[in-house]
Protein backbone atom coordinates (compact mmCIF):
# COMPACT_ATOMS: atom_id res chain seq x y z
CA UNK A 1 0.00 0.00 0.00
CA UNK A 2 1.38 3.37 -1.02
CA UNK A 3 1.99 5.96 1.69
CA UNK A 4 3.80 8.56 -0.44
CA UNK A 5 0.91 11.00 -0.47
CA UNK A 6 0.61 11.05 3.31
CA UNK A 7 3.52 13.50 3.31
CA UNK A 8 1.71 15.65 0.75
CA UNK A 9 -1.40 15.57 2.96
CA UNK A 10 0.72 16.69 5.92
CA UNK A 11 2.20 19.56 3.91
CA UNK A 12 -1.29 20.60 2.78
CA UNK A 13 -2.39 20.51 6.40
CA UNK A 14 0.56 22.70 7.38
CA UNK A 15 -0.41 25.15 4.62
CA UNK A 16 -4.01 25.23 5.84
CA UNK A 17 -3.65 25.47 9.60
CA UNK A 18 -2.29 29.04 9.88
CA UNK A 19 -5.32 30.50 8.13
CA UNK A 20 -7.54 28.64 10.56
CA UNK A 21 -5.57 29.41 13.68
CA UNK A 22 -3.70 32.70 13.50
CA UNK A 23 -6.62 35.11 14.07
CA UNK A 24 -8.14 32.84 16.71
CA UNK A 25 -4.85 32.58 18.59
CA UNK A 26 -3.78 36.19 18.19
CA UNK A 27 -3.35 37.87 21.58
CA UNK A 28 -5.52 40.83 22.45
CA UNK A 29 -8.22 40.11 19.90
CA UNK A 30 -10.84 41.07 22.49
CA UNK A 31 -9.25 44.51 22.86
CA UNK A 32 -9.66 45.47 19.22
CA UNK A 33 -11.28 48.86 18.57
CA UNK A 34 -15.09 48.77 18.31
CA UNK A 35 -15.14 49.44 14.54
CA UNK A 36 -12.93 46.40 13.97
CA UNK A 37 -15.17 44.24 16.15
CA UNK A 38 -18.18 45.54 14.26
CA UNK A 39 -16.44 44.67 11.00
CA UNK A 40 -15.72 41.14 12.23
CA UNK A 41 -19.36 40.78 13.29
CA UNK A 42 -20.41 41.54 9.72
CA UNK A 43 -17.98 39.05 8.19
CA UNK A 44 -20.25 36.11 8.99
CA UNK A 45 -23.33 37.13 6.96
CA UNK A 46 -21.09 38.41 4.15
CA UNK A 47 -18.99 35.29 3.76
CA UNK A 48 -21.90 32.86 4.14
CA UNK A 49 -23.89 34.74 1.50
CA UNK A 50 -20.78 34.80 -0.70
CA UNK A 51 -20.38 31.03 -0.37
CA UNK A 52 -24.06 30.44 -1.17
CA UNK A 53 -24.02 32.76 -4.17
CA UNK A 54 -20.81 31.41 -5.67
CA UNK A 55 -21.79 27.76 -5.22
CA UNK A 56 -25.18 28.50 -6.81
CA UNK A 57 -24.28 30.86 -9.63
CA UNK A 58 -20.74 30.00 -10.70
CA UNK A 59 -19.55 26.76 -12.27
CA UNK A 60 -16.25 25.81 -13.85
CA UNK A 61 -16.75 25.34 -17.57
CA UNK A 62 -15.19 22.72 -19.82
CA UNK A 63 -12.33 25.09 -20.55
CA UNK A 64 -11.57 25.42 -16.85
CA UNK A 65 -12.87 28.99 -16.66
CA UNK A 66 -15.60 30.18 -14.25
CA UNK A 67 -18.99 30.58 -15.92
CA UNK A 68 -22.25 32.13 -14.79
CA UNK A 69 -24.78 29.39 -14.14
CA UNK A 70 -28.56 29.54 -14.09
CA UNK A 71 -30.36 26.41 -13.00
CA UNK A 72 -32.72 24.71 -10.62
CA UNK A 73 -30.18 25.36 -7.86
CA UNK A 74 -31.38 28.98 -7.80
CA UNK A 75 -34.94 27.85 -7.10
CA UNK A 76 -33.76 25.32 -4.55
CA UNK A 77 -31.76 27.87 -2.58
CA UNK A 78 -34.60 30.39 -2.82
CA UNK A 79 -37.03 27.76 -1.55
CA UNK A 80 -34.69 26.98 1.34
CA UNK A 81 -34.46 30.68 2.19
CA UNK A 82 -38.25 31.01 2.12
CA UNK A 83 -38.74 28.00 4.38
CA UNK A 84 -36.07 29.17 6.82
CA UNK A 85 -37.63 32.63 6.93
CA UNK A 86 -41.12 31.22 7.36
CA UNK A 87 -40.53 28.27 9.67
CA UNK A 88 -37.12 29.21 11.12
CA UNK A 89 -36.03 25.65 10.52
CA UNK A 90 -32.95 25.04 8.40
CA UNK A 91 -33.41 21.30 8.16
CA UNK A 92 -36.89 21.72 6.66
CA UNK A 93 -35.46 24.24 4.23
CA UNK A 94 -32.68 21.87 3.18
CA UNK A 95 -35.15 19.00 2.76
CA UNK A 96 -37.35 21.16 0.55
CA UNK A 97 -34.36 22.27 -1.53
CA UNK A 98 -33.14 18.71 -2.02
CA UNK A 99 -36.63 17.46 -2.89
CA UNK A 100 -37.11 20.21 -5.47
CA UNK A 101 -33.73 19.58 -7.07
CA UNK A 102 -34.09 15.81 -7.14
CA UNK A 103 -37.59 16.06 -8.62
CA UNK A 104 -36.55 18.56 -11.27
CA UNK A 105 -33.63 16.39 -12.31
CA UNK A 106 -35.68 13.19 -12.24
CA UNK A 107 -38.22 14.61 -14.67
CA UNK A 108 -35.47 15.98 -16.86
CA UNK A 109 -36.13 19.69 -16.31
CA UNK A 110 -32.42 20.37 -15.84
Amino acid sequence: MSLDLVLLAALMGVATYPSRAVPMLAPGIERLPPPVLEYLRLVAPAVLAALAAVYTMVVIGPDGQPEFHVGVEWLAVALCLAVVWWRRNLFLGLAAAVALTATARAVGLV
Binding site: Y17, L40, L42, A44, A49, V98
Partner: protein, 287 residues
Protein backbone atom coordinates in the same frame (compact mmCIF):
# COMPACT_ATOMS: atom_id res chain seq x y z
CA UNK B 1 -50.38 40.94 10.11
CA UNK B 2 -52.36 38.27 8.29
CA UNK B 3 -50.60 37.13 5.17
CA UNK B 4 -47.15 38.02 6.42
CA UNK B 5 -44.66 35.33 7.38
CA UNK B 6 -44.42 34.94 11.15
CA UNK B 7 -40.88 36.25 11.14
CA UNK B 8 -41.86 39.36 9.25
CA UNK B 9 -44.69 40.13 11.64
CA UNK B 10 -42.49 40.06 14.73
CA UNK B 11 -42.85 42.83 17.25
CA UNK B 12 -40.39 43.96 19.86
CA UNK B 13 -42.34 41.86 22.38
CA UNK B 14 -41.80 38.69 20.42
CA UNK B 15 -38.16 39.57 19.91
CA UNK B 16 -37.75 40.04 23.63
CA UNK B 17 -39.40 36.69 24.24
CA UNK B 18 -37.05 35.08 21.81
CA UNK B 19 -34.17 36.65 23.71
CA UNK B 20 -34.79 34.03 26.34
CA UNK B 21 -33.60 31.35 23.94
CA UNK B 22 -31.98 28.87 26.26
CA UNK B 23 -28.74 27.11 25.71
CA UNK B 24 -30.52 23.78 25.47
CA UNK B 25 -33.07 25.10 22.98
CA UNK B 26 -30.32 26.52 20.82
CA UNK B 27 -28.34 23.28 21.03
CA UNK B 28 -31.42 21.36 19.90
CA UNK B 29 -31.74 23.69 16.93
CA UNK B 30 -28.04 23.26 16.23
CA UNK B 31 -28.47 19.49 16.18
CA UNK B 32 -31.41 19.63 13.79
CA UNK B 33 -29.70 22.19 11.54
CA UNK B 34 -26.63 19.99 11.49
CA UNK B 35 -28.47 16.97 10.11
CA UNK B 36 -28.50 18.44 6.62
CA UNK B 37 -24.78 19.13 6.89
CA UNK B 38 -24.20 15.51 7.90
CA UNK B 39 -26.02 14.31 4.78
CA UNK B 40 -23.98 16.64 2.62
CA UNK B 41 -20.69 15.61 4.24
CA UNK B 42 -21.49 11.92 3.72
CA UNK B 43 -22.50 12.43 0.08
CA UNK B 44 -19.44 14.39 -0.88
CA UNK B 45 -17.10 12.42 1.35
CA UNK B 46 -18.10 9.32 -0.60
CA UNK B 47 -17.43 11.08 -3.88
CA UNK B 48 -14.08 12.34 -2.60
CA UNK B 49 -13.09 8.83 -1.56
CA UNK B 50 -14.09 7.49 -4.96
CA UNK B 51 -12.17 10.27 -6.75
CA UNK B 52 -9.09 9.61 -4.65
CA UNK B 53 -9.24 5.90 -5.39
CA UNK B 54 -9.55 6.56 -9.12
CA UNK B 55 -6.59 8.94 -8.93
CA UNK B 56 -4.50 6.13 -7.45
CA UNK B 57 -4.62 7.06 -3.76
CA UNK B 58 -4.41 4.22 -1.27
CA UNK B 59 -6.99 4.19 1.49
CA UNK B 60 -4.40 5.47 3.96
CA UNK B 61 -3.47 8.36 1.67
CA UNK B 62 -7.09 9.29 1.04
CA UNK B 63 -7.93 9.22 4.74
CA UNK B 64 -4.73 11.06 5.66
CA UNK B 65 -5.86 13.91 3.46
CA UNK B 66 -9.31 13.98 5.07
CA UNK B 67 -7.81 13.96 8.55
CA UNK B 68 -4.83 16.27 8.02
CA UNK B 69 -6.28 18.75 5.54
CA UNK B 70 -10.01 18.40 6.26
CA UNK B 71 -11.08 20.84 3.55
CA UNK B 72 -13.27 19.48 0.78
CA UNK B 73 -12.46 21.91 -2.03
CA UNK B 74 -8.72 21.67 -1.45
CA UNK B 75 -8.89 17.88 -1.29
CA UNK B 76 -10.82 17.58 -4.55
CA UNK B 77 -8.36 19.99 -6.18
CA UNK B 78 -5.41 17.97 -4.86
CA UNK B 79 -6.84 14.72 -6.18
CA UNK B 80 -7.18 16.25 -9.64
CA UNK B 81 -3.72 17.78 -9.46
CA UNK B 82 -2.07 14.55 -8.36
CA UNK B 83 -3.83 12.67 -11.16
CA UNK B 84 -2.45 15.21 -13.64
CA UNK B 85 1.05 14.98 -12.25
CA UNK B 86 1.21 18.50 -10.86
CA UNK B 87 4.17 19.06 -8.54
CA UNK B 88 3.76 19.07 -4.79
CA UNK B 89 4.83 22.71 -4.24
CA UNK B 90 2.09 23.88 -6.60
CA UNK B 91 -0.48 21.69 -4.84
CA UNK B 92 0.52 23.05 -1.44
CA UNK B 93 0.31 26.63 -2.72
CA UNK B 94 -3.09 25.94 -4.27
CA UNK B 95 -4.24 24.50 -0.95
CA UNK B 96 -3.14 27.61 0.92
CA UNK B 97 -5.01 29.79 -1.54
CA UNK B 98 -8.20 27.72 -1.53
CA UNK B 99 -8.25 27.66 2.26
CA UNK B 100 -7.35 31.30 2.83
CA UNK B 101 -11.02 32.07 3.47
CA UNK B 102 -10.61 30.37 6.83
CA UNK B 103 -8.78 33.51 7.94
CA UNK B 104 -12.13 35.29 7.83
CA UNK B 105 -13.90 32.57 9.81
CA UNK B 106 -11.17 32.47 12.40
CA UNK B 107 -11.15 36.27 12.74
CA UNK B 108 -14.94 36.38 13.09
CA UNK B 109 -14.87 33.68 15.76
CA UNK B 110 -11.90 35.16 17.61
CA UNK B 111 -13.85 37.62 19.79
CA UNK B 112 -16.12 34.79 20.92
CA UNK B 113 -13.29 32.48 21.93
CA UNK B 114 -10.90 35.06 23.39
CA UNK B 115 -11.41 33.81 26.95
CA UNK B 116 -10.94 30.17 26.03
CA UNK B 117 -7.60 28.50 26.69
CA UNK B 118 -5.00 28.54 23.94
CA UNK B 119 -4.81 24.72 23.62
CA UNK B 120 -8.57 24.57 23.17
CA UNK B 121 -8.49 27.34 20.58
CA UNK B 122 -5.69 25.52 18.77
CA UNK B 123 -7.81 22.38 18.59
CA UNK B 124 -10.85 24.37 17.52
CA UNK B 125 -8.88 25.91 14.67
CA UNK B 126 -7.85 22.48 13.42
CA UNK B 127 -11.47 21.51 12.68
CA UNK B 128 -12.66 24.92 11.48
CA UNK B 129 -14.56 24.56 8.20
CA UNK B 130 -17.26 26.42 6.30
CA UNK B 131 -19.90 24.27 7.96
CA UNK B 132 -18.45 24.49 11.47
CA UNK B 133 -18.23 28.26 11.19
CA UNK B 134 -21.74 28.70 9.82
CA UNK B 135 -23.45 26.42 12.35
CA UNK B 136 -21.49 27.58 15.38
CA UNK B 137 -21.65 31.32 14.82
CA UNK B 138 -25.41 31.08 14.32
CA UNK B 139 -25.59 29.14 17.60
CA UNK B 140 -23.40 31.62 19.49
CA UNK B 141 -25.47 34.54 18.28
CA UNK B 142 -28.71 32.86 19.32
CA UNK B 143 -27.48 32.41 22.88
CA UNK B 144 -25.26 35.49 22.97
CA UNK B 145 -22.21 33.63 24.19
CA UNK B 146 -19.61 31.05 23.30
CA UNK B 147 -20.47 27.37 23.74
CA UNK B 148 -17.61 24.92 23.32
CA UNK B 149 -19.83 21.84 23.19
CA UNK B 150 -21.88 23.48 20.47
CA UNK B 151 -18.71 24.15 18.52
CA UNK B 152 -17.50 20.56 18.83
CA UNK B 153 -20.87 19.34 17.65
CA UNK B 154 -20.80 21.66 14.64
CA UNK B 155 -17.20 20.88 13.73
CA UNK B 156 -16.74 17.24 14.62
CA UNK B 157 -20.11 15.51 14.76
CA UNK B 158 -21.67 17.12 11.71
CA UNK B 159 -18.57 17.30 9.52
CA UNK B 160 -15.29 15.71 10.65
CA UNK B 161 -16.68 12.27 11.53
CA UNK B 162 -19.07 11.92 8.57
CA UNK B 163 -16.46 13.27 6.14
CA UNK B 164 -13.80 10.82 7.27
CA UNK B 165 -16.10 7.81 7.47
CA UNK B 166 -17.48 8.63 4.04
CA UNK B 167 -13.94 8.96 2.68
CA UNK B 168 -13.26 5.38 3.77
CA UNK B 169 -16.60 4.33 2.31
CA UNK B 170 -15.82 6.00 -0.98
CA UNK B 171 -12.46 4.26 -1.34
CA UNK B 172 -13.89 0.89 -0.34
CA UNK B 173 -17.17 1.00 -2.26
CA UNK B 174 -15.71 2.58 -5.38
CA UNK B 175 -17.97 2.58 -8.41
CA UNK B 176 -21.02 1.46 -6.44
CA UNK B 177 -21.51 5.07 -5.33
CA UNK B 178 -24.16 7.19 -7.02
CA UNK B 179 -23.53 10.85 -7.86
CA UNK B 180 -24.94 12.91 -4.96
CA UNK B 181 -26.23 15.36 -7.55
CA UNK B 182 -28.79 12.87 -8.83
CA UNK B 183 -30.61 13.05 -5.52
CA UNK B 184 -30.10 16.78 -5.10
CA UNK B 185 -27.50 16.61 -2.33
CA UNK B 186 -25.29 19.10 -4.16
CA UNK B 187 -27.65 21.94 -3.23
CA UNK B 188 -27.37 21.22 0.49
CA UNK B 189 -24.18 23.21 0.94
CA UNK B 190 -25.20 26.47 -0.77
CA UNK B 191 -28.73 26.20 0.64
CA UNK B 192 -27.36 25.69 4.16
CA UNK B 193 -24.99 28.64 3.84
CA UNK B 194 -27.84 30.83 2.54
CA UNK B 195 -30.21 29.65 5.26
CA UNK B 196 -27.68 30.33 8.00
CA UNK B 197 -26.89 33.74 6.49
CA UNK B 198 -30.58 34.62 6.71
CA UNK B 199 -30.49 33.76 10.39
CA UNK B 200 -27.64 36.23 10.84
CA UNK B 201 -29.28 39.01 8.83
CA UNK B 202 -30.67 40.79 11.87
CA UNK B 203 -30.23 44.41 10.84
CA UNK B 204 -29.56 46.75 7.95
CA UNK B 205 -25.82 46.33 8.15
CA UNK B 206 -25.99 42.54 8.15
CA UNK B 207 -28.34 42.56 5.17
CA UNK B 208 -26.10 44.95 3.24
CA UNK B 209 -23.03 42.88 4.18
CA UNK B 210 -24.72 39.70 2.92
CA UNK B 211 -26.06 41.24 -0.30
CA UNK B 212 -22.84 43.04 -1.11
CA UNK B 213 -20.71 40.05 -0.17
CA UNK B 214 -22.75 37.78 -2.46
CA UNK B 215 -22.75 40.17 -5.41
CA UNK B 216 -19.04 40.96 -5.15
CA UNK B 217 -18.17 37.30 -4.70
CA UNK B 218 -19.99 36.28 -7.88
CA UNK B 219 -18.46 39.11 -9.93
CA UNK B 220 -14.93 38.42 -8.72
CA UNK B 221 -15.43 34.67 -9.16
CA UNK B 222 -16.38 35.15 -12.79
CA UNK B 223 -13.50 37.52 -13.42
CA UNK B 224 -10.87 35.62 -11.45
CA UNK B 225 -11.57 32.44 -9.45
CA UNK B 226 -14.35 31.24 -7.13
CA UNK B 227 -12.05 30.94 -4.13
CA UNK B 228 -10.84 34.49 -4.65
CA UNK B 229 -14.40 35.69 -5.08
CA UNK B 230 -15.48 34.26 -1.75
CA UNK B 231 -12.56 35.93 0.03
CA UNK B 232 -13.07 39.32 -1.64
CA UNK B 233 -16.83 39.18 -1.02
CA UNK B 234 -16.26 38.29 2.61
CA UNK B 235 -13.74 41.12 3.02
CA UNK B 236 -15.45 43.93 1.12
CA UNK B 237 -19.10 43.19 1.97
CA UNK B 238 -18.67 44.17 5.64
CA UNK B 239 -16.77 47.33 4.67
CA UNK B 240 -19.68 48.50 2.52
CA UNK B 241 -22.12 47.55 5.26
CA UNK B 242 -20.30 49.76 7.74
CA UNK B 243 -21.14 52.75 5.56
CA UNK B 244 -24.80 52.10 6.34
CA UNK B 245 -26.27 53.38 9.61
CA UNK B 246 -26.99 50.51 11.98
CA UNK B 247 -30.65 49.86 12.65
CA UNK B 248 -32.85 47.54 14.68
CA UNK B 249 -34.43 45.78 11.67
CA UNK B 250 -34.46 42.42 13.43
CA UNK B 251 -36.56 40.19 11.23
CA UNK B 252 -34.94 36.98 12.37
CA UNK B 253 -33.08 38.00 15.49
CA UNK B 254 -33.48 35.62 18.40
CA UNK B 255 -32.08 38.17 20.82
CA UNK B 256 -31.61 41.90 21.20
CA UNK B 257 -28.90 43.22 18.96
CA UNK B 258 -26.23 43.63 21.59
CA UNK B 259 -26.69 40.08 22.81
CA UNK B 260 -27.33 38.41 19.50
CA UNK B 261 -24.37 40.00 17.85
CA UNK B 262 -22.00 38.68 20.43
CA UNK B 263 -20.35 42.04 20.53
CA UNK B 264 -22.56 43.84 23.00
CA UNK B 265 -23.28 46.77 20.74
CA UNK B 266 -26.13 49.16 21.11
CA UNK B 267 -28.32 50.15 18.19
CA UNK B 268 -26.16 53.23 17.86
CA UNK B 269 -23.20 51.01 17.21
CA UNK B 270 -21.40 51.76 20.48
CA UNK B 271 -19.81 48.70 21.96
CA UNK B 272 -20.36 48.25 25.67
CA UNK B 273 -19.07 45.85 28.26
CA UNK B 274 -21.05 42.62 28.17
CA UNK B 275 -22.96 41.23 31.06
CA UNK B 276 -21.05 38.38 32.63
CA UNK B 277 -22.96 35.14 32.84
CA UNK B 278 -22.63 31.45 32.25
CA UNK B 279 -21.78 28.87 34.89
CA UNK B 280 -20.87 26.13 32.46
CA UNK B 281 -17.08 26.14 32.12
CA UNK B 282 -17.50 25.39 28.43
CA UNK B 283 -19.56 28.50 27.94
CA UNK B 284 -17.90 31.87 27.71
CA UNK B 285 -19.37 35.31 27.34
CA UNK B 286 -18.76 37.04 24.08
CA UNK B 287 -16.48 40.05 24.52
Amino acid sequence: MRGLPPAASMTHETTATDAAVTLEASRRRLIVDGLGIVASAIGFGLVYGLSAREAGFSIVEAVAMSVLVFAGAAQFAAVGAVAQGVGWPAIVLLTAFLNARHLLYSAALAPWVARTGRPTRSAMAYVLTDEAFALSIAHFRRIGRFDLRGYWYAAIVTTFIPWNLATIGGVVLGGAIADPGTIGLDVVFPAAMAGLAVGLATGRREIVAAAAGAAIAVLVSLAWAPSGGIIVGGLVGPLLAMLVPGGPMRLMSPAPLGVASGLASTTAGVVEEPEASGRDPDIGVAP
